[in-house]
C-alpha cells in the first residue's frame, strides 16, 4: 500500500505553503518529490514526519492515518544536517538507533554494519566535527538508516554533494528500494536525479503539478522531439501529420515536436518513404522541461479561474 498523501494543506500565518497536495508513494520504488525552492517540499516532509501538523488533509500508511508508532520505524534525514559535534561517530549512530527503539547491543551491531557499508568503519571513534563534509553527510545518512526503517524520507539529500557522493548515495537508496523499502526524497535539482527516481511528484507553489512514473511521463509528453537527417527534396511528406510542429529545419537536421497520440515511428516511416534517412533520434524531455511545461499549465488554469 505504501504512503498516501491526501489533500494536505498548511499555512504559516497568512502564507499558504501547501494548497492541497496529494500523491502516493509505493514501496520498492524510489520516488522523487521535486520542485523549485520554496515549493513546499520541506513543509510537506515535516508534516509526513509529524514535526508539523497539517491544517487539512492527512498522511496515510497502509490505508490508515500515520501514528507515532509507525513513525518510529521510519527514517528521516532533514535538509540541514544535524549531528552532535562532540560525540563520536559510532556513539551517535547507536544513540539514534536506541531512540528508534533498538536495544543498545542491536543498535551497536547495526551501526557497525552501516558504517562499513558507507565506508566509515575506521571513523567509529572520531568526533563528528573532525569529519569532512562528505563523511558527515554519510554519517547523517547512517543515523537515519540504523534502525532499518521501512519508510525512508530524505530532504534534499543530494544538496552539495560531488558526483562520486551522488552516485554512492544513489546506490544506497537503490539497495533499500530493492529490499522493498519505501523511499521518498526531495530535490530541486531535477535533472540530477532524473535517472534515480522511478516515480515523481512535482510540486509548485504548494500544489502537485505532475505525478507518475518518470519513464511514461517523459515518453507521453508532448514535448518529445524527433530529430531527423533525411535526404528528401521537400517536406511535403510531413503534411499528413497535422499535430506535428517543426521546431527547426536545417539542411542536416529537422526537429519535430511530436504530440501525444502520434507515434514517432510512423513519422520515421514516412520520412524513409520520402528519402534516405541518414540519422535520427527521439529526444525525451528532461524533468526540468516537464516541470516547466507542467508549471506553466497550472499557471494558465489559475489565470483562467
Amino acid at each position: 500500500m505504501g504512503l498516501e498523501i491526501d489533500d494536505v494543506r498548511h499555512s504559516f500565518g497568512d502564507r499558504l505553503a501547501l494548497d492541497g497536495v496529494s500523491f502516493d508513494v509505493v514501496p520498492g520504488v524510489i520516488t522523487g518529490l521535486l520542485g523549485p525552492n520554496g515549493a513546499g517540499k520541506t513543509t510537506l516532509l515535516r508534516i509526513m514526519l509529524g514535526v508539523l501538523s497539517p491544517d487539512h488533509g492527512e498522511v496515510r500508511y497502509d490505508g490508515r492515518p500515520v501514528n507515532e508508532e509507525d513513525r518510529r520505524h521510519w527514517g528521516y534525514m532533514p535538509q540541514e544536517r544535524g549531528l552532535y559535534a562532540g560525540m563520536s561517530a559510532g556513539d551517535q549512530v547507536v544513540h539514534f538507533g536506541r531512540l528508534h527503539g533498538l536495544s543498545r547491543r542491536e543498535a551497536t551491531s547495526r551501526a557497525h554494519a552501516l558504517l562499513e557499508e558507507l565506508g566509515l568503519e575506521d571513523r567509529w571513534s572520531d568526533r563528528t566535527d573532525k569529519l569532512s563534509g562528505g563523511m558527515q553527510q554519510r554519517l547523517q545518512l547512517a543515523t537515519s538508516l540504523v534502525h532499518d526503517p521501512v519508510v525512508i524520507v530524505l530532504d534534499e539529500p543530494f544538496n552539495g554533494l560531488d558526483p562520486v557522493a551522488v552516485a554512492s548515495l544513489s546506490e544506497t537508496l537503490r539497495q533499500r528500494a530493492r529490499d522493498g523499502r519505501t523511499v521518498l526524497f526531495s530535490s530541486h535539482q531535477l535533472d540530477l536525479v532524473q535517472d534515480l527516481c522511478e516515480d515523481i511528484a512535482m510540486v509548485d507553489r504548494g500544489r502537485t503539478v505532475l505525478q507518475g512514473n518518470v519513464a511514461s511521463l517523459r515518453a507521453s509528453s508532448s514535448r518529445r522531439q524527433l530529430r531527423l537527417h533525411v535526404q528528401a527534396p521537400n517536406r511535403d511528406w510531413l503534411r499528413a501529420y497535422a499535430g506535428v510542429t517543426v521546431v527547426s529545419d536545417e539542411a542536416d537536421e529537422l526537429r519535430l515536436e511530436v504530440p501525444d497520440g502520434i507515434d514517432p515511428l510512423d513519422i520515421l516511416d514516412a520520412a524513409r518513404a520520402a528519402g534516405r534517412v541518414v540519422d535520427f533520434g527521439l529526444d525525451l524531455p528532461t524533468l526540468s522541461q516537464l516541470f516547466l511545461a507542467a508549471a506553466d499549465r497550472t499557471f494558465d488554469t489559475a489565470g483562467v479561474r
Binding site: F12, G13, A17, R46, L49, G50, V51, L52, R71, R72, W74, Y76, M77, P78, E80, R81, G82, L83, Y84, A85, G86, M87, H95, F96, R98, L99, H100, G101, T143, S144
Partner: protein, 393 residues
C-alpha cells in the same frame, strides 16, 4: 507512557554523559570539592591548637591555684603550664625573657610589658578567690556556704540582633550565593544546549522521533542532575562536619539549613530551567543566546538582590515575608530568611507550595514556547508568535 519515559531517559542519558565527560564538568566539580574541603579543614587548623599560658611561681604552684585555673581553662579553652623558680628575681626574669606569660611571687603578679591578654586577670581573680574563701572559712563559714558565695556569677550577656545566630545567618548568606550561582550557571548551560541543538538542526532530526516534551524534559533532567551532584559535592562534607564537630563555627542546625537549600535548588531549578530552554529555543544563532536568556537571568538577579538586601537586613519585616513567599524570588529569599531562625514552618511550607505550583505552570508555558520556536529557523523568533494562537514560521 512507557515509551515516553524511555525516549526521555535516552535524551537525559546522552546529555548526562556528554556533560560528565566534558572538561568543564571535571574542573568545576574539582574546584567545588576543594572549596568544600577547605571550608571544613581551614577552621580546624586555625582553631585547632588550644592556647597554652605559662605561669611562673616562686616555689611550687599552690594546689588551690592549679585547681581554680584548671577549671577556668576548661570553660575558656586554654591550658596552663607551670614553671617554678627558686627566687622572686628568677620569676621576674622568666616573665621578662618570655619564658612565662605571667609570674606570681609573694604579693606580686608580674606581667609582660606587651599585652598578655586576659590570663593575668584570671590569675589575679584566682588569687583573690583563694584568699577570700580562706578568710571566709576562718570566719566560720561552712565549705558549702563558701562554695555558694564563690559560685555567684555576673549576669549572662546576650547580644541582641535581627537573627538568632550570627553563624547560622552567615551560612544562610553563603547558601544564597551558592543557589544564585547554581541557578544561573545551570540555566545558561541548558540554554546553550538547546540553542546548540537548534542551530545545528539536530532538533529537527530529534523531533521526527521524539516529542518536544521528551526533548526538553530530558535535557533539563540531565543538567539538573549534574548541577545537583555538584551542589552535593560542595555541601555534603560541610553538612557532615557541622554535625560531627563544633570547630566550624556553625551550630548543628545549619546542617539542616544546607539540606533545605538543596530542596530549594530543585524547586528553583524547575522554576527557571524551562524558561531558560524556552528563551534559548527562540534564537537561531548560538551567539544570540546571551541576550535571549537575559530576561530570565534578570528575574534571578532581582530575586537575589532582594534576598540579600531586604531579607538580610530585616528578616521579620513585611517586605521580607512577601519576598520570601513570592514564587519568583522565594528560591533565594526563603533559604536566607530561614537561616535567621525566625520563620514559622507554615511560611516555609507555603513558599515551597507556591514555588512548586508556579514551576508547574512555567513548565507548561516553557514547553509550549520551546515546541513552537524550535522550527522557526533562519531568524530570531519573536515571543509574540509562539505564544497563544498558532505557530508561524
Amino acid at each position: 507512557m512507557g515509551t515516553w519515559w524511555k525516549g526521555t531517559a535516552l535524551v537525559a542519558e546522552r546529555g548526562l554523559l556528554e556533560n560528565v565527560r566534558s572538561r568543564t564538568f571535571k574542573i568545576v566539580t574539582g574546584l567545588l570539592l576543594l572549596m568544600s574541603i577547605a571550608a571544613v579543614v581551614v577552621p580546624q587548623i586555625l582553631g585547632g591548637e588550644r592556647t597554652t599560658y605559662t605561669l611562673a611561681t616562686a616555689g611550687k604552684a599552690p594546689a588551690g591555684m592549679v585547681a581554680v585555673l584548671g577549671a577556668a581553662g576548661k570553660s575558656a579553652d586554654f591550658t596552663v603550664k607551670y614553671v617554678s623558680r627558686d627566687k622572686e628575681d628568677a620569676v621576674r626574669k622568666a616573665v621578662r625573657d618570655g619564658d612565662a606569660t605571667a609570674g606570681l611571687a609573694g604579693d606580686t603578679l608580674y606581667t609582660a610589658a606587651s599585652a598578655s591578654g586576659t590570663f593575668p586577670v584570671l590569675v589575679a581573680q584566682a588569687v583573690v578567690a583563694l584568699e577570700t574563701s580562706r578568710q571566709l572559712s576562718e570566719a566560720g563559714l561552712s565549705p558549702a556556704q563558701v562554695a555558694g558565695l564563690q559560685s555567684i556569677q555576673p549576669p549572662k550577656q546576650v547580644s541582641v540582633g535581627p537573627v538568632d545566630d550570627q553563624g547560622r545567618a552567615g551560612a544562610g548568606f553563603a547558601v544564597g550565593i551558592v543557589l544564585y550561582t547554581a541557578l544561573v550557571f545551570a540555566g545558561s548551560t541548558i540554554a546553550n544546549t538547546v540553542a546548540m541543538e537548534k542551530s545545528t538542526r539536530i532538533s529537527e532530526v530529534l523531533l521526527a522521533v521524539l516529542r518536544p516534551s521528551q526533548m526538553i524534559v530530558g535535557t533539563v533532567v540531565a543538567l539538573g542532575t549534574v548541577t545537583l551532584f555538584q551542589l552535593l559535592v560542595l555541601a555534603a562534607p560541610l553538612a557532615v562536619a557541622v554535625q560531627v564537630t563544633d570547630k566550624i563555627g556553625l551550630p548543628p542546625v545549619a546542617a539542616g539549613d544546607i539540606g533545605l537549600a538543596l530542596a530549594w535548588f530543585v524547586l528553583g531549578f524547575m522554576l527557571f530551567a524551562f524558561m531558560y530552554a524556552a528563551a534559548a529555543a527562540l534564537v537561531d544563532k548560538i551567539t544570540d543566546v546571551a541576550s535571549a536568556i537575559m530576561p530570565v537571568t534578570m528575574i534571578i538577579v532581582v530575586g537575589y538582590v532582594l534576598a540579600i538586601s531586604v531579607v538580610m537586613s530585616d528578616p521579620g519585616g513585611g517586605w521580607s515575608v512577601a519576598v520570601s513567599l513570592f514564587p519568583l524570588t522565594a528560591p533565594m529569599a526563603m533559604p536566607i530568611r530561614w537561616a535567621s531562625g525566625l520563620v514559622p514552618v507554615w511560611q516555609l511550607v507555603l513558599a515551597m507550595a507556591l514555588t512548586a505550583a508556579a514551576a508547574m505552570l512555567l513548565v507548561a508555558v516553557g514547553s509550549a514556547i520551546y515546541r513552537r520556536a524550535l522550527l522557526i529557523t533562519g531568524r530570531r523568533a519573536k515571543l509574540r508568535e509562539v505564544i497563544g494562537g498558532r505557530a508561524a514560521s
